[in-house]
Protein backbone atom coordinates (compact mmCIF):
# COMPACT_ATOMS: atom_id res chain seq x y z
CA UNK A 1 0.00 0.00 0.00
CA UNK A 2 2.92 2.32 0.75
CA UNK A 3 6.10 2.14 -1.30
CA UNK A 4 9.29 4.08 -0.66
CA UNK A 5 12.08 3.80 -3.21
CA UNK A 6 15.50 5.34 -2.61
CA UNK A 7 14.12 8.33 -0.76
CA UNK A 8 16.74 10.95 0.07
CA UNK A 9 16.30 14.30 1.70
CA UNK A 10 18.60 17.19 2.49
CA UNK A 11 18.29 20.20 4.76
CA UNK A 12 20.61 22.48 2.84
CA UNK A 13 23.81 20.48 2.54
CA UNK A 14 22.95 18.19 5.46
CA UNK A 15 21.54 14.87 4.35
CA UNK A 16 18.81 13.66 6.71
CA UNK A 17 17.58 10.67 4.70
CA UNK A 18 19.74 8.44 2.51
CA UNK A 19 18.30 5.91 0.04
CA UNK A 20 15.40 4.78 2.20
CA UNK A 21 13.55 1.92 0.57
CA UNK A 22 10.73 -0.08 2.16
CA UNK A 23 7.08 -0.87 1.76
CA UNK A 24 4.06 -1.33 3.96
CA UNK A 25 1.31 -3.76 3.05
CA UNK A 26 -2.36 -3.40 3.81
CA UNK A 27 -3.09 -4.53 7.36
CA UNK A 28 0.55 -4.46 8.34
CA UNK A 29 1.81 -2.85 11.53
CA UNK A 30 5.33 -1.51 11.14
CA UNK A 31 7.38 0.03 13.92
CA UNK A 32 10.20 2.41 13.08
CA UNK A 33 12.79 2.83 15.81
CA UNK A 34 16.27 4.21 16.15
CA UNK A 35 18.30 6.75 18.09
CA UNK A 36 17.18 10.38 18.09
CA UNK A 37 18.28 12.27 15.04
CA UNK A 38 18.24 9.11 12.94
CA UNK A 39 15.55 10.52 10.63
CA UNK A 40 12.59 8.40 11.74
CA UNK A 41 10.23 11.32 12.26
CA UNK A 42 11.35 12.92 9.02
CA UNK A 43 10.78 9.66 7.16
CA UNK A 44 7.26 9.19 8.47
CA UNK A 45 6.43 12.81 7.61
CA UNK A 46 7.50 12.27 4.01
CA UNK A 47 4.88 9.52 3.67
CA UNK A 48 2.06 12.07 3.77
CA UNK A 49 4.17 14.78 2.14
CA UNK A 50 4.38 16.98 5.24
CA UNK A 51 8.13 16.96 4.57
CA UNK A 52 9.29 17.27 0.97
CA UNK A 53 12.06 15.00 -0.28
CA UNK A 54 14.49 15.65 -3.09
CA UNK A 55 15.22 12.19 -4.50
CA UNK A 56 13.43 8.90 -4.84
CA UNK A 57 9.79 7.97 -5.04
CA UNK A 58 6.97 7.45 -2.59
CA UNK A 59 3.59 6.10 -3.53
CA UNK A 60 0.59 5.72 -1.27
CA UNK A 61 -2.24 3.51 -2.48
CA UNK A 62 -0.87 3.77 -6.01
CA UNK A 63 -0.63 7.56 -5.97
CA UNK A 64 2.82 8.96 -6.58
CA UNK A 65 3.75 11.80 -4.22
CA UNK A 66 6.45 13.04 -6.55
CA UNK A 67 4.03 13.73 -9.38
CA UNK A 68 3.40 17.50 -9.40
CA UNK A 69 -0.18 16.78 -10.49
CA UNK A 70 -0.91 14.86 -7.29
CA UNK A 71 -3.37 16.66 -5.06
CA UNK A 72 -1.49 16.36 -1.78
CA UNK A 73 -4.39 17.61 0.35
CA UNK A 74 -6.65 14.88 -1.04
CA UNK A 75 -4.01 12.27 -0.35
CA UNK A 76 -3.40 13.48 3.20
CA UNK A 77 -7.12 13.33 3.92
CA UNK A 78 -6.83 9.55 3.52
CA UNK A 79 -3.72 9.17 5.65
CA UNK A 80 -4.27 9.58 9.40
CA UNK A 81 -1.47 11.12 11.41
CA UNK A 82 -0.87 11.35 15.15
CA UNK A 83 1.83 13.68 16.44
CA UNK A 84 4.17 13.66 19.39
CA UNK A 85 2.64 16.83 20.79
CA UNK A 86 -0.98 15.87 19.96
CA UNK A 87 -1.59 19.10 18.01
CA UNK A 88 -5.27 19.32 18.84
CA UNK A 89 -6.64 22.72 17.84
CA UNK A 90 -6.67 24.62 21.16
CA UNK A 91 -9.31 27.15 20.06
CA UNK A 92 -11.85 24.42 19.28
CA UNK A 93 -13.76 22.04 21.54
CA UNK A 94 -13.10 18.31 21.40
CA UNK A 95 -16.16 17.76 19.21
CA UNK A 96 -15.15 20.60 16.88
CA UNK A 97 -11.67 19.10 16.63
CA UNK A 98 -13.26 15.84 15.53
CA UNK A 99 -15.67 17.34 13.00
CA UNK A 100 -13.78 20.26 11.42
CA UNK A 101 -11.90 18.34 8.73
CA UNK A 102 -14.73 15.87 8.18
CA UNK A 103 -16.96 18.78 7.18
CA UNK A 104 -14.43 21.00 5.41
CA UNK A 105 -12.38 18.33 3.67
CA UNK A 106 -14.74 15.39 3.21
CA UNK A 107 -17.84 17.54 2.84
CA UNK A 108 -19.83 15.67 5.48
CA UNK A 109 -22.85 17.35 7.03
CA UNK A 110 -22.58 18.59 10.61
CA UNK A 111 -24.85 15.77 11.82
CA UNK A 112 -22.97 13.09 9.98
CA UNK A 113 -19.60 14.40 11.14
CA UNK A 114 -20.83 14.61 14.72
CA UNK A 115 -22.20 11.08 14.83
CA UNK A 116 -19.11 9.72 13.19
CA UNK A 117 -16.65 11.69 15.33
CA UNK A 118 -18.40 10.88 18.59
CA UNK A 119 -18.44 7.19 17.73
CA UNK A 120 -14.64 7.27 17.63
CA UNK A 121 -14.48 9.41 20.73
CA UNK A 122 -16.47 6.72 22.49
CA UNK A 123 -14.05 4.09 21.22
CA UNK A 124 -11.14 5.90 22.83
CA UNK A 125 -13.23 6.15 25.99
CA UNK A 126 -13.64 9.93 26.11
CA UNK A 127 -17.23 10.58 25.12
CA UNK A 128 -17.79 12.38 28.43
CA UNK A 129 -15.18 14.99 27.46
CA UNK A 130 -16.80 15.98 24.17
CA UNK A 131 -17.55 19.58 25.13
CA UNK A 132 -14.23 20.33 26.80
CA UNK A 133 -11.33 22.17 25.24
CA UNK A 134 -7.99 20.44 24.66
CA UNK A 135 -6.32 22.52 27.36
CA UNK A 136 -8.68 21.01 29.94
CA UNK A 137 -7.58 17.45 29.18
CA UNK A 138 -4.54 15.49 30.32
CA UNK A 139 -1.82 14.65 27.82
CA UNK A 140 -3.00 11.06 27.49
CA UNK A 141 -6.57 12.18 26.91
CA UNK A 142 -5.46 14.73 24.33
CA UNK A 143 -3.54 12.06 22.44
CA UNK A 144 -6.55 9.75 22.47
CA UNK A 145 -8.70 12.56 21.09
CA UNK A 146 -6.04 13.13 18.43
CA UNK A 147 -6.25 9.45 17.47
CA UNK A 148 -10.04 9.69 17.31
CA UNK A 149 -9.71 12.83 15.18
CA UNK A 150 -7.50 11.02 12.68
CA UNK A 151 -9.78 7.95 12.64
CA UNK A 152 -12.87 10.11 12.01
CA UNK A 153 -11.49 10.72 8.52
CA UNK A 154 -11.67 6.97 7.77
CA UNK A 155 -8.01 6.75 6.81
CA UNK A 156 -6.54 3.85 4.84
CA UNK A 157 -3.41 3.97 6.99
CA UNK A 158 -2.45 5.55 10.31
CA UNK A 159 0.94 7.15 10.91
CA UNK A 160 2.11 7.65 14.49
CA UNK A 161 5.05 9.98 15.12
CA UNK A 162 6.32 9.18 18.63
CA UNK A 163 2.78 9.23 20.05
CA UNK A 164 3.82 8.54 23.63
CA UNK A 165 7.12 10.44 23.89
CA UNK A 166 5.61 13.62 25.28
CA UNK A 167 3.46 11.84 27.86
CA UNK A 168 3.96 11.35 31.56
CA UNK A 169 4.78 7.67 32.19
CA UNK A 170 1.43 6.89 33.80
CA UNK A 171 -0.39 8.02 30.64
CA UNK A 172 1.60 5.99 28.13
CA UNK A 173 -0.47 2.89 28.79
CA UNK A 174 -3.86 4.37 27.93
CA UNK A 175 -2.58 5.59 24.56
CA UNK A 176 -0.83 2.30 23.77
CA UNK A 177 -4.02 0.41 24.64
CA UNK A 178 -5.89 2.37 21.99
CA UNK A 179 -3.13 1.66 19.47
CA UNK A 180 -3.06 -2.05 20.27
CA UNK A 181 -6.82 -2.25 19.83
CA UNK A 182 -6.49 -0.50 16.50
CA UNK A 183 -3.75 -2.87 15.35
CA UNK A 184 -5.80 -5.89 16.36
CA UNK A 185 -8.70 -4.59 14.28
CA UNK A 186 -6.48 -4.80 11.22
CA UNK A 187 -5.65 -1.12 10.68
CA UNK A 188 -2.55 -0.51 8.58
CA UNK A 189 -0.15 1.30 10.89
CA UNK A 190 3.29 2.82 10.76
CA UNK A 191 4.58 3.90 14.16
CA UNK A 192 7.72 5.75 15.10
CA UNK A 193 8.13 4.75 18.72
CA UNK A 194 10.55 3.64 21.38
CA UNK A 195 7.90 1.44 22.98
CA UNK A 196 9.49 -1.93 22.32
CA UNK A 197 6.76 -3.64 24.32
CA UNK A 198 4.25 -2.35 21.80
CA UNK A 199 6.51 -3.47 18.94
CA UNK A 200 6.76 -6.97 20.40
CA UNK A 201 3.07 -7.23 21.08
CA UNK A 202 1.45 -6.07 17.84
CA UNK A 203 3.94 -5.17 15.15
CA UNK A 204 4.65 -7.37 12.16
CA UNK A 205 7.85 -5.69 11.13
CA UNK A 206 10.50 -3.50 12.70
CA UNK A 207 12.54 -0.92 10.82
CA UNK A 208 15.67 0.34 12.52
CA UNK A 209 17.15 3.61 11.35
CA UNK A 210 20.50 5.22 12.02
CA UNK A 211 21.95 8.40 10.53
CA UNK A 212 19.21 8.72 7.95
CA UNK A 213 19.50 5.16 6.64
CA UNK A 214 17.29 2.14 7.07
CA UNK A 215 19.73 -0.24 8.72
CA UNK A 216 17.35 -3.06 9.58
CA UNK A 217 14.03 -3.96 8.02
CA UNK A 218 12.93 -7.35 9.23
CA UNK A 219 10.15 -9.28 10.91
CA UNK A 220 9.48 -8.75 14.57
CA UNK A 221 10.66 -12.27 15.41
CA UNK A 222 13.95 -11.78 13.65
CA UNK A 223 14.51 -8.37 15.20
CA UNK A 224 13.90 -9.34 18.80
CA UNK A 225 14.81 -13.03 18.87
CA UNK A 226 17.96 -13.07 16.77
CA UNK A 227 19.91 -10.12 18.07
CA UNK A 228 23.17 -11.79 17.01
CA UNK A 229 22.19 -11.37 13.36
CA UNK A 230 21.63 -7.60 13.76
CA UNK A 231 23.99 -4.82 12.80
CA UNK A 232 26.26 -3.44 15.56
CA UNK A 233 24.28 -0.19 15.78
CA UNK A 234 20.99 -2.04 16.17
CA UNK A 235 22.48 -4.35 18.77
CA UNK A 236 23.74 -1.40 20.77
CA UNK A 237 20.37 0.34 20.52
CA UNK A 238 18.49 -2.80 21.51
CA UNK A 239 20.69 -3.52 24.49
CA UNK A 240 20.22 0.05 25.74
CA UNK A 241 16.50 0.23 25.23
CA UNK A 242 15.73 -3.28 26.48
CA UNK A 243 17.82 -2.71 29.59
CA UNK A 244 15.24 -0.18 30.73
Amino acid sequence: MIELRNVSKWYGSFQVLTDCTTSIEKGEVVVICGPSGSGKSTLIKTINALEPFQQGEISVDGINLHDPKTNLSKLRARVGMVFQHFELFPHLSVTENLTLAQMKVLGRSADEANTHGLRYLERVGLLAQKDKFPGQLSGGQQQRVAIARALSMDPIVMLFDEPTSALDPEMVGEVLDVMVKLANEGMTMCCVTHEMGFARKVSHRVIFMDQGRIVEDCSKAEFFDKPEARSPRAKEFLSKILAN
Binding site: K74, L88, R149, M153
Partner: protein
Protein backbone atom coordinates in the same frame (compact mmCIF):
# COMPACT_ATOMS: atom_id res chain seq x y z
CA UNK B 1 -0.83 83.24 36.45
CA UNK B 2 -3.34 81.72 34.10
CA UNK B 3 -6.77 81.32 35.58
CA UNK B 4 -8.84 78.63 33.99
CA UNK B 5 -12.53 79.21 33.49
CA UNK B 6 -14.08 76.25 31.74
CA UNK B 7 -17.68 77.31 32.25
CA UNK B 8 -18.02 78.13 28.56
CA UNK B 9 -17.71 74.42 27.82
CA UNK B 10 -21.31 73.34 27.72
CA UNK B 11 -23.55 70.89 25.91
CA UNK B 12 -24.29 73.38 23.17
CA UNK B 13 -20.63 73.87 22.38
CA UNK B 14 -20.13 70.14 22.46
CA UNK B 15 -22.92 69.36 20.00
CA UNK B 16 -22.11 72.34 17.76
CA UNK B 17 -18.36 71.83 17.44
CA UNK B 18 -16.98 68.76 19.12
CA UNK B 19 -19.42 65.96 18.37
CA UNK B 20 -18.95 66.09 14.61
CA UNK B 21 -15.17 65.90 14.99
CA UNK B 22 -15.36 63.14 17.60
CA UNK B 23 -17.56 61.06 15.33
CA UNK B 24 -15.16 61.51 12.41
CA UNK B 25 -12.13 60.57 14.53
CA UNK B 26 -13.86 57.48 15.88
CA UNK B 27 -15.15 56.52 12.44
CA UNK B 28 -11.70 56.99 10.92
CA UNK B 29 -10.15 54.90 13.69
CA UNK B 30 -12.63 52.06 13.28
CA UNK B 31 -12.47 51.98 9.47
CA UNK B 32 -8.66 52.21 9.45
CA UNK B 33 -8.38 49.46 12.06
CA UNK B 34 -10.68 47.06 10.24
CA UNK B 35 -9.33 47.95 6.80
CA UNK B 36 -5.76 47.93 8.06
CA UNK B 37 -6.15 44.47 9.59
CA UNK B 38 -7.74 43.06 6.42
CA UNK B 39 -5.13 44.55 4.06
CA UNK B 40 -2.39 43.90 6.62
CA UNK B 41 -3.33 40.22 6.82
CA UNK B 42 -2.93 39.89 3.05
CA UNK B 43 0.41 41.70 3.22
CA UNK B 44 1.53 39.36 6.01
CA UNK B 45 0.46 36.28 4.03
CA UNK B 46 2.36 37.63 1.01
CA UNK B 47 5.51 38.14 3.07
CA UNK B 48 5.23 34.63 4.54
CA UNK B 49 4.44 32.98 1.21
CA UNK B 50 8.10 32.27 0.29
CA UNK B 51 7.21 33.25 -3.28
CA UNK B 52 9.56 36.08 -4.36
CA UNK B 53 6.92 37.65 -6.60
CA UNK B 54 4.74 38.17 -3.51
CA UNK B 55 7.39 38.63 -0.83
CA UNK B 56 9.30 41.51 -2.43
CA UNK B 57 6.42 43.85 -3.30
CA UNK B 58 4.86 43.34 0.14
CA UNK B 59 8.17 43.85 1.93
CA UNK B 60 8.91 46.97 -0.09
CA UNK B 61 5.47 48.39 0.66
CA UNK B 62 5.64 47.68 4.39
CA UNK B 63 9.17 49.02 4.81
CA UNK B 64 8.39 52.16 2.82
CA UNK B 65 5.24 52.98 4.77
CA UNK B 66 7.00 52.37 8.06
CA UNK B 67 9.83 54.71 7.13
CA UNK B 68 7.75 57.75 6.16
CA UNK B 69 6.07 60.08 8.65
CA UNK B 70 2.31 59.60 8.54
CA UNK B 71 1.65 63.29 8.09
CA UNK B 72 3.64 63.21 4.86
CA UNK B 73 1.67 60.26 3.53
CA UNK B 74 -1.54 62.10 4.37
CA UNK B 75 -0.38 65.22 2.57
CA UNK B 76 1.06 63.52 -0.46
CA UNK B 77 -1.95 61.33 -1.01
CA UNK B 78 -4.26 64.33 -0.71
CA UNK B 79 -2.20 66.33 -3.18
CA UNK B 80 -1.36 63.54 -5.62
CA UNK B 81 -4.75 61.93 -6.12
CA UNK B 82 -6.33 64.93 -7.87
CA UNK B 83 -3.37 64.96 -10.26
CA UNK B 84 -3.65 61.21 -10.89
CA UNK B 85 -7.42 60.87 -11.29
CA UNK B 86 -8.15 64.39 -12.46
CA UNK B 87 -10.47 65.48 -9.65
CA UNK B 88 -10.23 66.03 -5.90
CA UNK B 89 -11.77 63.37 -3.64
CA UNK B 90 -12.27 65.38 -0.46
CA UNK B 91 -10.33 65.42 2.78
CA UNK B 92 -12.45 62.80 4.58
CA UNK B 93 -12.21 60.12 1.92
CA UNK B 94 -8.57 60.92 1.31
CA UNK B 95 -7.79 60.58 5.01
CA UNK B 96 -9.68 57.30 5.25
CA UNK B 97 -7.82 55.70 2.35
CA UNK B 98 -4.47 57.00 3.58
CA UNK B 99 -5.01 55.65 7.07
CA UNK B 100 -6.03 52.19 5.82
CA UNK B 101 -2.97 52.09 3.56
CA UNK B 102 -0.64 53.31 6.28
CA UNK B 103 -2.01 51.20 9.12
CA UNK B 104 -1.99 48.10 6.91
CA UNK B 105 1.80 48.23 6.98
CA UNK B 106 1.86 48.26 10.79
CA UNK B 107 -0.91 45.69 11.22
CA UNK B 108 0.82 43.38 8.73
CA UNK B 109 3.84 43.21 11.01
CA UNK B 110 1.60 42.37 13.96
CA UNK B 111 -0.26 39.71 11.95
CA UNK B 112 3.02 38.27 10.69
CA UNK B 113 4.30 37.89 14.24
CA UNK B 114 0.92 36.44 15.24
CA UNK B 115 1.00 33.82 12.50
CA UNK B 116 4.55 32.91 13.43
CA UNK B 117 3.49 32.54 17.06
CA UNK B 118 1.26 29.59 16.11
CA UNK B 119 3.35 26.43 16.52
CA UNK B 120 4.44 24.72 13.31
CA UNK B 121 2.85 21.51 14.58
CA UNK B 122 -0.58 23.11 14.25
CA UNK B 123 0.09 23.76 10.58
CA UNK B 124 1.20 20.15 10.15
CA UNK B 125 -1.92 18.91 11.93
CA UNK B 126 -4.22 20.88 9.64
CA UNK B 127 -2.34 19.74 6.56
CA UNK B 128 -2.31 16.14 7.75
CA UNK B 129 -6.11 16.25 7.97
CA UNK B 130 -6.23 17.15 4.30
CA UNK B 131 -6.95 20.85 4.64
CA UNK B 132 -5.74 23.13 1.86
CA UNK B 133 -3.46 26.08 2.59
CA UNK B 134 -6.44 28.43 2.59
CA UNK B 135 -8.57 26.27 4.87
CA UNK B 136 -5.68 25.75 7.24
CA UNK B 137 -5.01 29.50 7.47
CA UNK B 138 -8.66 30.43 7.86
CA UNK B 139 -9.73 27.70 10.27
CA UNK B 140 -6.62 26.80 12.24
CA UNK B 141 -3.81 29.34 12.07
CA UNK B 142 -5.48 32.76 11.86
CA UNK B 143 -8.09 32.15 14.59
CA UNK B 144 -5.26 31.30 16.99
CA UNK B 145 -3.03 34.07 15.70
CA UNK B 146 -5.74 36.73 16.01
CA UNK B 147 -6.55 35.65 19.53
CA UNK B 148 -2.91 36.07 20.48
CA UNK B 149 -2.84 39.45 18.75
CA UNK B 150 -5.95 41.12 20.17
CA UNK B 151 -4.06 43.09 22.87
CA UNK B 152 -1.46 44.31 20.37
CA UNK B 153 -4.19 45.22 17.89
CA UNK B 154 -5.91 47.31 20.53
CA UNK B 155 -2.71 49.04 21.52
CA UNK B 156 -2.10 49.88 17.87
CA UNK B 157 -5.68 51.17 17.62
CA UNK B 158 -5.10 53.53 20.54
CA UNK B 159 -2.05 54.95 18.79
CA UNK B 160 -4.10 55.17 15.62
CA UNK B 161 -6.81 57.16 17.40
CA UNK B 162 -4.23 59.70 18.53
CA UNK B 163 -2.72 59.80 15.05
CA UNK B 164 -6.06 60.72 13.48
CA UNK B 165 -5.38 64.26 14.73
CA UNK B 166 -2.79 64.52 11.95
CA UNK B 167 -5.57 65.03 9.42
CA UNK B 168 -5.32 68.70 10.40
CA UNK B 169 -2.71 68.79 7.63
CA UNK B 170 -5.41 68.46 4.99
CA UNK B 171 -8.12 70.33 6.86
CA UNK B 172 -10.42 67.42 7.69
CA UNK B 173 -12.80 68.04 10.59
CA UNK B 174 -11.71 65.72 13.38
CA UNK B 175 -11.89 65.87 17.17
CA UNK B 176 -8.93 68.24 17.53
CA UNK B 177 -10.23 70.49 14.77
CA UNK B 178 -13.56 70.72 16.61
CA UNK B 179 -11.84 72.02 19.74
CA UNK B 180 -9.67 74.35 17.71
CA UNK B 181 -12.62 76.00 15.96
CA UNK B 182 -14.60 76.18 19.18
CA UNK B 183 -11.62 77.83 20.82
CA UNK B 184 -11.38 80.42 18.09
CA UNK B 185 -15.10 81.18 18.09
CA UNK B 186 -15.26 81.50 21.85
CA UNK B 187 -11.90 83.25 22.09
CA UNK B 188 -10.61 80.57 24.45
CA UNK B 189 -7.88 78.72 22.51
CA UNK B 190 -5.80 77.69 25.54
CA UNK B 191 -8.72 76.28 27.47
CA UNK B 192 -10.08 74.34 24.51
CA UNK B 193 -6.67 72.79 23.79
CA UNK B 194 -6.51 71.66 27.39
CA UNK B 195 -10.00 70.18 27.07
CA UNK B 196 -8.94 68.48 23.86
CA UNK B 197 -5.96 66.91 25.60
CA UNK B 198 -8.21 65.77 28.46
CA UNK B 199 -10.66 64.22 26.00
CA UNK B 200 -7.92 62.30 24.18
CA UNK B 201 -6.51 61.21 27.52
CA UNK B 202 -9.81 59.91 28.86
CA UNK B 203 -10.60 57.97 25.68
CA UNK B 204 -7.14 56.45 25.30
CA UNK B 205 -6.71 55.69 29.00
CA UNK B 206 -10.06 53.88 29.16
CA UNK B 207 -9.13 51.89 26.09
CA UNK B 208 -5.81 50.80 27.60
CA UNK B 209 -7.65 49.69 30.71
CA UNK B 210 -9.99 47.70 28.49
CA UNK B 211 -7.00 46.08 26.77
CA UNK B 212 -5.76 44.78 30.12
CA UNK B 213 -9.14 43.30 30.95
CA UNK B 214 -9.49 41.68 27.55
CA UNK B 215 -5.93 40.37 27.62
CA UNK B 216 -6.76 38.22 30.62
CA UNK B 217 -9.94 36.92 29.03
CA UNK B 218 -8.78 35.88 25.59
CA UNK B 219 -5.66 33.96 26.57
CA UNK B 220 -5.84 30.47 25.06
CA UNK B 221 -5.36 27.58 27.41
CA UNK B 222 -2.89 25.14 25.92
Amino acid sequence: MLSLDLSFYNWELFTNYILKGLLFSVQLTVIATVGGIVVGTFLALMRLSEKPALVYPATFYVNTMRSIPLVMVILWFFLLIPILIGRPIGADLSATITFIAFEAAFFSEIVRAGIQSVPKGQVYAGEALGMTYGQNMRLVVLPQAFRNMIPVFMTQTIILFQDTSLVYAIGAYDLLKGFEIAGKNYGRPIETYILAAATYFIICFSLSKAVRAIQAKVAIIR
